[in-house]
Symmetry: C2
Subunit: 295 residues, 2 copies
């Protein structure tokens, strides 16, 4: 191809003389919402332990937001994609390498980082609970798993001349053994005859750095959505698990109880039964399953 541009240059010539302009560029960070599921202590030898959905946060050691908790992440380098940056951060933070990783959303509100112009390309990672026990307080003692709850507090609907604005107000609670962080995040859906848009905003926030409450909210909503029509939740499971455990994971993600019979029908194609069983429970043993690698 030897097409010439209006200066009479070929593409090769153009690229050779090309100089990166002086216009301002943003920094781009990859921030990750790393989920896992852990067991709580069982009440008695007979009862099963309960499951908790957890997210990894890191206490900030420097300004801005010093002392606040932030998602693991860091700036994307020129030689890598945002996904590679996320993978690198994940390995640095947890030592884990081979996980489910999905890009969520790119946040670019002005002022979201008081230092300079920073966009955040956010990712969600799912780590199975076995892998993660090993590498918890890796290097920084300030990396901690927080239990997550995310609940609809209230719902408002305001009518416009043509259309409406619907606001869903969610409470995000993150609790570690020592601290409890709470944020309230609004999801505002504006619907008009031709347009429609959804905006997240932070109503209140105590303890989380930057706009990370928004990012976590976004991740939970994605996770809840996908759980219903994909095998995504299986990435939170160890290699062998019981169907009751899997159901508990679904329940803790969706924050609602499911019926056993219907649940088992629904996940039947996502798992494969093994001939192994749980042992030494104070009750009937349960068959162990693994993730199906078919389809």
């Amino acid at each position: 191809m030897d097409l010439l541009d209006r200066d009479g240059l070929t593409e090769r010539e153009f690229l050779e003389q090309y100089r990166v302009g002086d216009f301002e560029r943003p920094s781009v960070a990859a921030d990750m919402v790393i989920f896992t599921v852990t067991n709580t202590e069982a009440d008695s030898y007979r009862k099963l332990p309960e499951k908790e959905l957890r997210v990894l946060l890191i206490r900030r050691g420097g300004h801005p937001y010093i002392g606040k908790w932030a998602l693991p992440g860091g700036f994307v380098r020129p030689s890598e994609t945002t996904g590679q940056a996320a993978t690198r951060e994940l390995r640095e933070e947890t030592g884990v390498d081979d996980v489910y990783l999905e890009q969520l959303y790119t946040f670019s509100d002005m002022g979201r980082d008081p230092r300079t112009w920073v966009m955040s390309c956010s990712y969600m990672a799912l780590i199975d609970s076995d892998q993660v026990q090993l590498k918890a307080g890796d290097d920084a003692a300030d990396a901690t798993w927080f239990k997550v709850t995310y609940r609809l507090l209230r719902e408002r609907k305001e009518l416009l001349e043509n259309g409406y604005v619907k606001t869903y107000e969610y409470e995000l609670k993150l609790s570690s053994e020592e601290e409890e962080l709470t944020a309230v995040v609004d999801r505002t859906e504006t619907v008009k005859p031709t347009s429609a848009s959804t905006v997240y905003s932070i109503v209140s926030n105590n303890g989380l750095a930057f706009d990370h409450a928004k990012i976590i909210a976004c991740a939970i909503e994605r996770l809840r959505g996908k759980v219903n029509y994909s095998d995504i939740a299986l990435h939170l499971m160890p290699p062998l698990f019981t169907l009751t455990e899997l159901q508990q994971v679904y329940e803790v993600i969706l924050d609602k109880e499911l019926l056993k019979a219907a649940f088992r029908r629904k996940v039947a194609d996502l798992v494969v039964e093994t001939d192994r069983y749980t042992e030494n429970a104070g009750h009937r043993p349960s068959r162990l399953y693994r993730r199906s690698l078919e389809d």
Copy 2:
């Protein structure tokens, strides 16, 4: 709050002395896949016109990819979000202002722009076919609507020791009155015991600039997915439309035929009937509906 960092600075002092580092930053562009639906000419006075899904492309006037067709877009400025940049580009390109807009994905592969390090935060916009007729060849005669088809060509599955790789090969065809662009895009899903990932890659490409074939593929898949469980397709409709027209729009998006009775049941809650009817068709008139602004 007067927490001090390790240099003994308050947050205010830290921000005052903060200097943007010298590490390299990417340019970030907002690129948009703008969809609309138009009628083809009817064969006879009796037949209904057919619908076509169309995408707006702009012929590049300079290097790189001179003469190739690209998605409308441009660099994000320091005073705006990626979404605002997309809205601005949309207005500049089509004159349209109030549309459905949704962020898709941020592409950051190295070398995706031969000039320099450029990430693309991509958006999908849906414009109703009435609005768009007006402002077609706005300023640039090189902005043209291309008819889109996106079809699965073949499917491969390769087994690994533990897991598998499944590749879906899609053919993307874009045709205007003068040109036909064809690209083949692979969606590769790698599934292993603990991880899973999906990667798009361009297998062949004639006529499209950059990695825009990937972005268009991504947009069509999002659109197809959302059509089934949301009212997203209604943003492609004019204020008044018949249910047959709406069905045609669903069919052209999904590239498959739907059953009338089932379709009408499914969209019943998304639309509101009016007391108006089509006129002067060579057959029974059809009731006109509008989009429901409830729920």
